[in-house]
Symmetry: C2
Subunit: 546 residues, 2 copies
């Protein structure tokens, strides 16, 4: 039996597009001699459909698409993921399910048992867990078909009390298929290979795994569909960050040349780079936009965003706006212009002096006798926000936010100022990683000016300001933030690792106090195991850790 794995970039709720892509891949697979083509979890509607699932006509459109797809399954079988109604009165109204389709008809429905409800996942919000286990029989083979999380309850600290493969194995299947929607983070490819390999080993079965690819607002699916033999050895690894279609002969998986020792895996920073480029590209394409605008300060964050945007959208579609003030240093404009020249994007220089002076004048009476402080710093940042949003409104550019994760974490940014934007490109990338990204982008030639990389970071909102005036060294800050955010460690545990007590407490307090700002941050492209946004849900008026 030949199995095709179809790794496709879906668009949530775009039934026309998704159905067409699925049908096209059915014919492509048939052309390659496949007996069965496997599509990802919730392929029909895209993942995650979120509260669209609560609308009955959305579910009806899923079912209609499935019937249309089924009509094309002649002389080839297919597996597609979609939400289906729970016909039993008690329990949630839906299942996260897969249809096994053959001879133009839906032959079997397989339902997901383990419903991830943590971090960015909300599946128990919508779905009833499965409690019935049946293999799919096809061409004399018994297939243990599971859906994503169903295979993840395998190692230490299992999150669920049941394990679907422990049920299915009782029926003596010949192979495993797992359909997934597994979002990228820069360690997740390794975790995934480990967990899936452990399943193949535990159940002594070959395993065919297909993932989605493409970005859905903040979540980036990296593809990398996989095949393992019954020893748990990785036999095939499909493309990352691209659509792909490959066909495998089931009985011959063990004869495929072993992938391990594999070629060196892509570095974390290359993975982050590729993920962000795809994240920008898909946000624009799926929203129907093509052009981006951003404020270019001469600093490293906006330089990196500009380079990534040019790569994703083409330099001709990127407008960089330079907005110097009286506190901007001489090198700011020069460094920004050097980047523009290196990269070939459009630019405008718009000084913000007239606006800041106007506000000084308007606020002269209420502010009489009061000293310059963060208020006036914020006014500058907000005047810049107005300028880039005006460019966005007038020309249909989409504003890219340029804040990094370190800033987001400690609240070093101005709401409605530099925190504006339709999408945050670097909001899940710590400052130290932004430097790595800059060096990665410059690997072949200088795109980001060296001076942008080597000069001390500064917001330039008051004379001779440096980030280091109010923040610790980013090398230390980022390590503490990583422990707190990704590793969920409290002050005590972080201090026990050898960090300075006063510093740790100060930073954790800053993180907690900045919650109200992050609530209004644009959606952030997620590249780590714990990004700000939908995957991290904190009270705003809470008192813990201040």
């Amino acid at each position: 039996m030949k199995i095709a794995l179809a790794q496709i970039n879906y668009h949530i709720g775009n039934f026309e597009l998704n159905t067409k892509k699925i049908i096209d891949h059915i014919y492509l697979s048939k052309g390659k001699g496949a007996d069965l083509v496997v599509f990802a979890e919730l392929a029909v509607c895209g993942y995650p459909p979120r509260d669209f699932l609560e609308f009955e006509d959305f579910i009806a459109l899923c079912e209609r698409s499935a019937l249309e797809i089924a009509a094309h399954c002649k002389d080839i079988a297919c597996i597609i993921g979609l939400p289906v109604k729970n016909e039993v009165l008690a329990g949630k109204d839906l299942f996260n399910a897969a249809y096994f389709i053959a001879d133009g008809a839906i032959k079997q429905v397989v339902k997901k048992t383990l419903l991830p409800t943590y971090d960015v996942f909300d599946e128990y919000r919508y779905f009833e867990p499965n409690a019935q286990f049946n293999c799919v029989e096809f061409k004399g083979q018994k297939i243990a078909l599971t859906i994503c999380e169903d295979l993840w309850n395998i190692n230490d600290n299992p999150m669920y009390i049941s394990c679907p493969m422990d049920e299915l194995i009782l029926q003596q299947p010949d192979l495993m298929i797992n359909i997934a929607a597994s979002p990228f983070d820069y360690h997740h490819d390794e975790d995934r290979i480990k967990v899936l390999s452990d399943n193949a080993k535990k159940y002594k079965l070959p395993l065919f795994y297909v993932n989605q690819v493409g970005a859905q607002t903040e979540l980036i699916f990296d593809g990398g569909s996989l095949v393992f033999d019954q020893e748990g050895e990785l036999k095939a690894e499909m493309k990352y960050f691209e659509e792909d279609l490959q066909v495998f002969e089931v009985g011959e998986v063990e004869n495929v040349k072993n992938k391990y020792p594999a070629p060196a895996r892509d570095s974390d920073i290359k993975q982050i780079h590729d993920a962000l480029v795809l994240g920008i590209k898909d946000y624009f394409q799926k929203s129907g936009f093509s052009k981006a605008v951003l404020g270019l300060s001469g600093g490293i964050d906006s330089a990196v965003v500009c380079a990534l945007a040019c790569e994703a959208l083409g330099a001709e579609n990127v407008m960089a706006v330079l907005m110097p003030s009286k506190y901007s240093s001489d090198h700011s404009v020069k460094d920004a212009l050097d980047l523009v020249n290196n990269i070939g994007c459009k630019h405008e220089i718009i000084e913000i002096k007239a606006a800041t002076e106007a506000f000084d004048q308007m606020l002269a009476k209420p502010f009489e006798g009061l000293a310059f402080n963060v208020t006036e710093e914020n006014i500058q940042a907000r005047c810049r926000g107005i300028v880039v949003m005006a460019m966005s409104n007038k020309f249909g550019y989409i504003l890219l936010n340029t804040s990094n994760k370190s800033e987001c974490a400690v609240g070093y940014g101005t709401l409605y100022g530099d925190m504006c934007g339709a999408m945050s490109v670097l909001g899940d990338v710590y400052k130290t990683q932004v430097f790595e990204l800059a060096r990665f982008i410059n690997a072949e030639r200088e795109i980001i000016p060296v001076n942008t990389i080597v000069k001390p970071p500064s917001a330039e909102l008051r004379p001779n300001q440096k980030d280091s005036d109010s923040l610790p060294d980013y090398g230390i800050l980022d390590r503490i933030l990583f422990q707190h955010i990704e590793k969920k460690q409290g002050a005590k545990a972080i201090i026990a690792q050898g960090f300075d007590e006063t510093l740790v407490k100060r930073i954790l307090k800053m993180v907690n106090v900045a919650e109200f700002k992050r609530y209004q941050t644009p959606p952030i492209l997620r590249v780590s195991s714990k990004a700000f946004g939908m995957g991290r849900r904190m009270p705003i008026v809470g008192r813990y850790m201040d």
Copy 2:
């Protein structure tokens, strides 16, 4: 046996405050002769603690508080809600639990079975469902103790396949106690009475129900703790929107004079009014702030917010900023000043002309030859945003947002302009309800100027602009929005109710397209069964319904 129900306003993560309040109420209850005092669900840490639950030291602080509380339980027993560790390896790491404490020690742990994971609730994100059922025995009585949702699986379309009381009833309990954290919406008091009464009737047991009170950012808990006899008749209803403590003699519940036919319930609009006042008050108090600022336009939304803020914080703590432009009508400033005079709050008048002219000049080159459009309208709104944020930054005022739910729904508002604010007061109140609120506020004397109520709504961002230029009549708009948002109806179902097809499709498209704006909206005080924010989670790049 005498049972005290302690209805308390907790503060999430403020262990010192919560513990002190609980201990105080233990002594108060003892003073009133109670044998047992009952506190709400997750009383120890406040509800909802959200991802604070993922930090081990947070859980340790809950346990430490419980031990401190236990030490005060001499000659009185108590029930407190708190998260407790799941000592079994498999499954989620925590239970949503209750401690039964007597003689200074934790005697029994009762765990929640049904974990609400819908709308604003995320309990399965954190908690393992209970699967063991034991009554609490105390003073010769068997108590069937359940936690909030545990009693809600009773009527049509049950959301769960199990029912905890069906297990507990097998042990022949003498009474039921339910501890809850049940947030307000303007119909929820009636639903709650119905569901709890149905439980008392079904199991033929008296039922003692205690709820939290107070606001936690967007969620407002209304209190209204309840006692039913074994016929399901409501025998006591505690205060709404206030702390309360009442003691009941278990055997005498049936002798209490029947509450039904009850005095007329508070109107929806009075409930909404009281909820919003409490929401504002608690946001400020729990964040450690006392003063609010808002932009006062002369229109009805900002007038109502100003009146509510003055009621919540005292007029002396409210700063209204009038920011006329050349498009402001003569009556705008007059109507706003009339309100200020009626209500006695502080005010400033700051014209925005200097700023808008500065931006016109700064953008003259890139915008050369291009007509005035929404760009320039947004610049005005954003200049006002800068002014009120500057007042906030300079004086420590917290900015209240004044957008209503109708505007939020269709995207009729400017991001980083009138959509600024730390908290949205009316974001869950439709425009037609805002008018009702204004009339309610004016019931005893004219606070909101009549002209503000009777004039046609306008954003006044271009000459002679009216809301009705771009939006349908609010009476129709709000009814369509209600069907779509609260009732989750798609276009087809709404059209089938008799609404115009073109209009319905246009409005639903507007709602869908505005998702990116709502993502960056401030937290919205929730008063309906479906508010924008944490309870409504939509994809941004999704295509459904456009």
